[in-house]
């Protein structure tokens, strides 16, 4: 009998068995394949639409070389969006479902530890979620076929999407372990994921009013700038030497442009005047951490951007590039006074490469959240169980 043989179950081998159990069931259920096919068609439609709307056909320009990056980032955004919708469904039922089906107690009655059970369930749901990411690879390849996609960013985009799906799955498994009803687990997971995806935006938006500060700033002029020295009336119509509005405005500007055709605006020529103005400044650097936990921000921010051409500011070509610039500027707090003690303050760089990244903060916040949910879930899986929710039986 069992007394003579040593009862031992390796940590990894226990996890592997749980993963195998889960995946085997998943692969054999029809709904899983139907979901994959629907997913593929939706992403295909989105990619085709992005390709169409960014094509010269619609834009009316010949700049087809810019389309690839735009499409790529659009597809990645949609994959992440839909992935965040699918991951809770894949993960939130794993443990509550076993509980309802009576199989959880059977697993708990073996040598499996709560930790192995959680890791196994998480890994299995993550692998299932990654299948959705893999299905979208052809569409990413399509976008890359345009040739202008910044290649060093591609593996990182995919990797960070995978990481974010893993985070969403871990949230689902953690909530699943602590809840007794499948519906509650699924809805709860959706709410937490929505809190990250939308709640962070809403929170940041609402917090903006609290970061307002009214400062006295001074007007900035550039004496070298001929355009700034043109006198105009209140309607923006330029004035002649006598202070009368010029009648043929168009001709005036044409001549003016021709006269100053070789003018290059240099920001370093700007000087501060002593003309005070009241300005409201938003200290976004105080609340930018809220945005950090947003999965889209983490993905967008972790990826290297195409270096800007020499002497030019970085101009994002896709939505995620724009998100990266936006959040980095928000964290940096670019909205400062122009003049301090009569000295022109330098404009911060718009180049994201020169601003500190935000994603480590975001991923950190997410991992803390996941850690708390998983630890709470683990507590509920410890047997012999001390506490049971009312109306539930362990078997």
């Amino acid at each position: 009998m069992s007394d003579e043989k040593a009862a031992s179950l390796g940590y990894l081998s226990g996890i592997r068995t749980v993963v195998e159990l889960e995946l085997r069931q998943r692969v054999r259920s029809k709904s899983w394949f139907i979901m994959l096919v629907v997913w593929f068609l939706v992403i295909l439609a989105v990619t085709a639409l992005a390709a169409y709307s960014a094509s010269p056909l619609v834009l009316g320009t010949a700049e087809a070389e810019q389309v690839g990056q735009m499409m790529f980032e659009l597809v990645i955004s949609f994959v992440l969006l839909f992935g965040l919708l699918v991951a809770p469904a894949l993960s939130a039922n794993t443990i509550t479902g076993d509980r309802a089906g009576g199989t959880l107690a059977i697993l708990q009655n073996t040598l499996l530890t709560p930790g192995q059970l959680l890791w196994g369930k998480w890994l299995a749901s993550w692998i299932a979620a990654l299948a959705f990411l893999i299905v979208t690879l052809p569409m990413l390849a399509w976008a890359m076929s345009y040739g202008d996609v910044y290649l060093p960013a591609v593996p990182l985009f995919v990797l960070m999407c995978a990481v974010e799906l893993g985070v969403a799955c871990a949230i689902g498994v953690g909530i699943s372990a602590r809840s007794t009803r499948p519906l509650f687990a699924v809805v709860g997971t959706y709410l937490v994921v929505a809190l990250l995806g939308l709640g962070t935006l809403i929170g940041f938006g609402l917090s903006l009013s609290m970061t307002q500060e009214t400062v006295t700033d001074y007007e900035v002029v550039n004496p070298q700038d001929p355009y700034a020295n043109v006198e105009m009336d209140e309607n923006g119509v330029p004035l002649d030497e006598n202070g009368e509005p010029i009648e043929d405005e168009e001709r005036f500007w044409r001549e003016f442009d021709a006269e100053h055709a070789d003018f290059v605006y240099r920001p370093e020529d700007e000087i501060c005047t002593d003309k005070p103005i009241e300005r409201t400044i938003l200290h976004t650097e105080r609340t930018a951490w809220m945005l950090a936990a947003n999965p889209f921000v983490v993905v967008a921010d972790a990826v290297p951007t195409q270096p800007a051409a020499a002497g030019q500011d970085y101009a994002p070509e896709g939505p995620l590039g724009a998100v990266q610039v936006g959040v980095r500027m928000a964290q940096y707090g670019v909205d400062g006074p122009d003049c301090v003690n009569g000295v022109r303050q330098p404009e911060p760089s718009m180049n994201p490469g020169e601003m500190p990244p935000l994603w480590p903060v975001g991923l950190g916040v997410q991992l803390v959240l996941v850690g708390l949910l998983m630890a709470d879930g683990r507590r509920r899986l410890v047997t012999p169980a001390r506490k049971l929710a009312t109306g539930t039986r362990v078997a």
Binding site: S2, S8, L9, R28, G102, L111, T383, P384, A385, R386
Partner: protein
């Protein structure tokens, strides 16, 4: 012996309850010696178990021992705490009070070591529907730390034992309830447990499978395992249980071995080819009897205080030339005890609860 028609309800509920209390105390006292033996093997010693779910006290005070090599039956009405008790034994629920030692190990303190030695078959069938019977068994074997080869080998052995080999490659969802029940039993046996905990194992089984189950359980006991079975179907336990623990309202009301049953007052049904002759002889022998009305075949009911007395009566009848065609206990031995202790305790509880004006149905 009495000639009055047997009315179980009238068996003196107060007496039953008092007796039950005495029995428990006696048994626990006697078991001091048994628990030493149980510690070496896989036996179970449970003392003072209590477990509440919120305001509902599912188990209040249960004591029992189950020795290796014996089949111990938990008998009690629905909601008497049998399943809760088995969950505690299976190391899934922590008792609020009391201790359980399985093979000398405290279940709460060493749940993992205990799990290696127990096999638990729950009353609700937990089945991974998309997996085949064989895959389920192999996966469970792996979770007990077996190698893949060993788990496959053991799974095939057990599938053969529970006669599921032809269905081994079928997904579990196509199995009938009885087949799933057999699969569940095989699953509980994967780790070759020293202690088997079976919650209502026979429900859903056809008569043939019931007989097989009975033989299997006897075989496990003969191999030195501790077998614990819960049920409320008394007839199926009569044949297999060495020891019966009667549970009512979360308490042990009686803990008896089959030897006790032999010394117990029981009713016997006697049938003769010639009813007249049988009844006359019984009168001559001075034995009180009743003749139940509305029976298809005429018979006489008597009571005997022990099996010895019953055997003597049979011999006397035969010596007197009565052609006896049937001589058997009217009801199963466990049913007899159930009626005299559990049922009595239940009736007592219901009536006293009624008097106190609270709801006695707040079961588990």
């Amino acid at each position: 012996m009495t000639g009055a028609p047997r009315e179980p309800q009238g068996a003196g509920s107060d007496d039953g309850t008092v007796d039950a209390g005495n029995d428990v105390r006696n048994d626990v006292g006697n078991d001091a010696g048994v628990s030493g033996a149980a510690r070496q093997g896989g036996g179970i010693v449970a003392t003072g178990l209590a477990r509440a779910f919120g305001p509902v006290k599912a188990v209040k005070d249960i004591h029992f021992t189950a020795a290796p090599g014996e089949v111990t039956a938990f008998i009690g009405p629905n909601g008497s705490g049998k399943t809760t008790l088995l969950l505690m034994l299976a190391s899934l629920l922590r008792p609020d009070a009391g201790t359980i030692r399985i093979g000398g190990l405290d279940v709460v303190e060493h749940p993992r070591d205990v799990r290696a030695r127990i096999g638990w078959m729950p009353d609700t069938l937990g089945v991974w529907e998309a997996l085949t019977a064989r895959e389920i068994l192999v996966a469970v074997g792996r979770l007990y730390g077996m190698t893949k080869e060993r788990a496959c080998e053991r799974a095939d052995e057990l599938l053969d034992m529970v006669k599921l080999t032809p269905l081994a490659k079928q997904p579990a969802r196509v199995l009938s309830r009885g087949q799933q029940q057999r699969l569940s039993l095989a699953r509980a046996l994967m780790n070759d447990p020293a202690v088997l905990l079976l919650d209502e194992p026979a429900s859903g089984l056809d008569p043939g499978a019931r007989i097989e189950l009975r033989n299997l359980l006897r075989k496990f006991a003969a191999e030195g395992r501790t077998v614990v079975v819960s049920s409320h179907v008394l007839s199926e336990l009569d044949e297999i249980a060495d020891r019966a623990v009667f549970v009512a309202d979360g308490q042990t009301v009686r803990d008896q071995s089959v030897h006790d049953v032999e010394e117990q007052l029981r009713g016997y049904t006697i049938r003769g080819l010639d009813q007249e002759h049988l009844l006359r002889t019984l009168s001559d022998l001075g034995v009180l009897f009743t003749v139940p009305a509305g029976q298809r075949r005429p018979e006489a009911l008597v009571e005997a205080s022990s099996e010895l007395q019953a055997a003597q009566l049979l011999r006397e009848l035969i010596d007197a030339g009565v052609a006896v065609s049937a001589f058997a206990p009217s009801v199963g031995a466990l049913e007899e005890t159930y009626m005299s202790s559990v049922y009595a305790a239940e009736v007592h509880r219901m009536t006293s609860a009624h008097r106190e004006g609270r709801n006695p149905e707040a079961g588990q």
